[in-house]
Symmetry: C2
Subunit: 445 residues, 2 copies
């Protein structure tokens, strides 16, 4: 077994959390190694290029103006951005009825959600005034009992629990839902294009940011294709056994989602309360599909490409055509029950369902894309679900206090541990910097 | 790396499911190896003996008359049993009020639960008439909306979601709760002593049954202390990499809970729907504590040692004194929020809380046991929670169909996959036999 030496800190995972942690640790004058299971950096951000150069962001891709960590990184690396195309009309399929925007009854539910989210202390959601009650109820129950119409409940389930939490309202509690919204500053900042979380895109694809962060580390800092299998640890340090060898560290940042963190073998095993977190934060089930066309034909019809729907397998679509790209891209999302159902289908049936709905929304030209590109994050060994993980009902109140709590030499990062923009790259960066600061204080006082 | 040869079937895990599978596979004339991570067999059944010989079952321990697989095994091995002591009065602490049994309003809720449970097809809970609605609601919400009093809701939460599912009503859906009850044939068979799941105990401790099953296999069949780290598999077979070496098999039975099954590395990675199961079945948080006294002093007070309480940290107690033992044992259980809280406490504070409540229930002699023996299954690397795992809300309807579905050469066993007596040894045995039969059919047609 190759022996790779001793570092002040070893970071497990080269997603945004791990890369941000590595930068802060180096800035503090500490020696650092980053171990990444995949052959690339970026984690849940992954840009693929079609042979003609058309860029497809298969994972996370947008940033918003209040995501200050990302705004700063983009500026630091001189990365070119462009506003998400906003011209043209939105389509809302509201129980079969075509609208141009969310109806007032949905906006009323959003307003109520915002007022509830304001009651969540994002550092400690379990100390919210109604935490016990809200954590014991699914968001689906809350919607069913809210007095809103069935179609409004379905819209909110699909657009909030689906479009934001990448699951269904059955799986998450009222508390987790309100925490997630509070963490981003409200429903509108989350759903919005101009001014919201989908405001800005990256020329050349979002993975560039991670690539820049990695290139900006000293050569050899990041070990790719080297999954961490086992961590032996005590208060004074750790030995990490990877597929390729072994590494020693005074401190470790585990910068992977809790569900994956639980799959590393620890010696000694982690305390019961941390184990409780690992078991109670399943990853989202979002399915993102890219339909590539010769041109953005919907624009000629005065449509923005943005659609939201309460019917069919797709909850959302967006014009994802990069500026100057040779072809146009319409990206569609399915979540929750629909996403599971699509995974059960044979590929031809999945294609038929997705294109059928695109045809309903955007006309018959949508039925015949040049290509339909799928990428299933739930089947990816080193991710196992997107967008991010969420506490199950009861999870925050029982185990929330262990989420960020270090265990001896082990510190926890990843967007699931973030306080602001939890679930986004921005939260991942926050979490990596916070874990690095914990280590700096521990080692340097 | 040691090479251990090729078998028709390799079984991962030597709990009741794995041992039962091995027996059936051998009976079909197949060659079998069993790989067990621990240095003992029995899984979540573990008997410890104090120096004076007093037996403590730290995990599962009771069997009931309708657990036919267990009845048959006990008979096969000539294992001696005895009826759980039943003489004397039960104590019910009902919101501070002392009762001698569950009050009528609780029995009314039990009756309603029984009638709902009858609607669950245990083979396919997701096809129950109200499956979608019941899976989207926590049992806590159902209780809160049921119209019963707060104390009745608390009693049912603690006794059913705690005492049976080893968690809290916040964590599991109405559907999972009703499935679990249906799987055992009703509330009374689950809660009952005489005639119920707690009817009978094993002289010398429950682990004896597993020990007998293991001894009855050809010598060398079970490899102890040899955790499976990685399984490379395709439709024609698998290579299993363990801590000690490698094994080949035409078929594999993964006989560990889904949450632990997800921690094995698979190549290729498992399909998205199986991964969905692994992430959505956290283990229970039961804490079982044994107070050892010079004698069963409560019997002289006309008490059976059985208590159920809506207050304090302990939900249940039971007289666990083995016949002829030199000392007496009162065993106490905490679940859900109380179990988590006890894990957060310093050991002295935990002791104070547990003994304080035993004193309240059974008088001042209970305050001073000879010993107080804890064992935290949530901290056990190769278990990570007891009694068993349960689908989170939304889990059954989205992922239930994948629970028992083989993946090429890989078959699934463990009590969490059982149809009858899910969560009990009996269900574990059923599941192992079912997986073995799948393999027999696949290999022998």
């Amino acid at each position: 077994m190759a022996r790779f030496g001793h570092y002040d800190a070893v970071v497990v995972g080269a997603g945004f959390a791990g890369l941000a942690a590595a930068h802060e640790l180096l800035r503090a004058g500490l020696t650092v190694r980053v171990l990444e299971a995949r052959s690339r950096v970026g984690g849940r951000v992954f840009t693929r290029y079609l042979p003609d150069g058309t860029q497809l962001d298969l994972g996370g891709q947008w940033i918003g103006p209040t995501q200050l960590n990302m705004v700063e990184l983009v500026r630091r690396y001189g990365i070119e951005t462009y506003p998400t195309p906003g011209h043209g009309a939105m389509i809302v399929d509201y129980g079969g009825q075509r609208l141009g925007d969310s109806p007032q009854e949905v906006l009323d539910v959003f307003a109520e959600i915002d007022s509830m989210a304001k009651q969540i202390p994002v550092e400690q959601p379990w100390s919210a005034p109604q935490a016990a009650e809200w954590d014991s109820r699914t968001f689906a129950s809350w919607l069913a009992d809210s007095g809103c119409s069935d179609v409004a409940a379905k819209f909110v389930d699909r657009v909030i629990s689906g479009g934001l939490l990448a699951g269904s309202a059955s799986e998450t509690s009222v508390l987790e839902t309100m925490f997630y919204i509070a963490s981003a500053g409200g429903v509108e900042p989350l759903l919005g294009y101009g001014g919201g979380a989908q405001d800005t895109r990256i020329v050349g694809g979002a993975q560039q940011i991670a690539n820049c962060m990695a290139s900006d580390l000293p050569a050899g800092t990041v070990h790719l294709s080297d999954p961490v299998l086992r961590i032996e640890h005590d208060g004074s340090g750790a030995r990490l056994v990877t597929r390729l060898g072994e590494h020693w560290a005074s401190r470790v940042v585990i910068a992977v989602p809790p569900m994956l963190a639980g799959r590393i073998q620890y010696d000694p095993p982690l305390p019961a309360l941390h184990e409780g977190v690992f078991q109670r934060m399943p990853a989202g089930t979002a399915m993102k599909v890219h339909a590539v066309y010769p041109e953005p034909f919907w624009r000629a019809d005065g449509l923005s490409g943005v659609a939201r729907s309460t019917t069919g397998v797709l909850t959302e679509t967006v014009d994802n055509t990069p500026p100057g790209a040779p072809r146009a891209v319409l990206t569609a999302f399915a979540y929750g029950d629909e996403a599971i159902m699509l995974r059960r289908c044979a590929p031809e049936e999945r294609r038929r369902l997705v294109l059928g709905q695109l045809g309903d929304l955007f006309g018959s030209r949508a039925l015949h894309p040049d290509e339909l590109v799928e990428f299933d994050w739930l089947a990816e060994e080193w991710t196992r679900g997107c967008f991010s993980g969420h506490f199950i009902p009861g999870g925050w109140t029982a185990f929330g206090a262990a989420l960020r709590k270090p265990v001896g030499a082990l510190h926890w990062a990843c967007t699931e541990t973030a306080v602001r923009w939890n679930g986004y790259f921005d939260g991942a960066v926050e979490s990596g910097r916070r874990a690095a600061e914990e280590i700096r204080l521990a080692l340097q006082g």
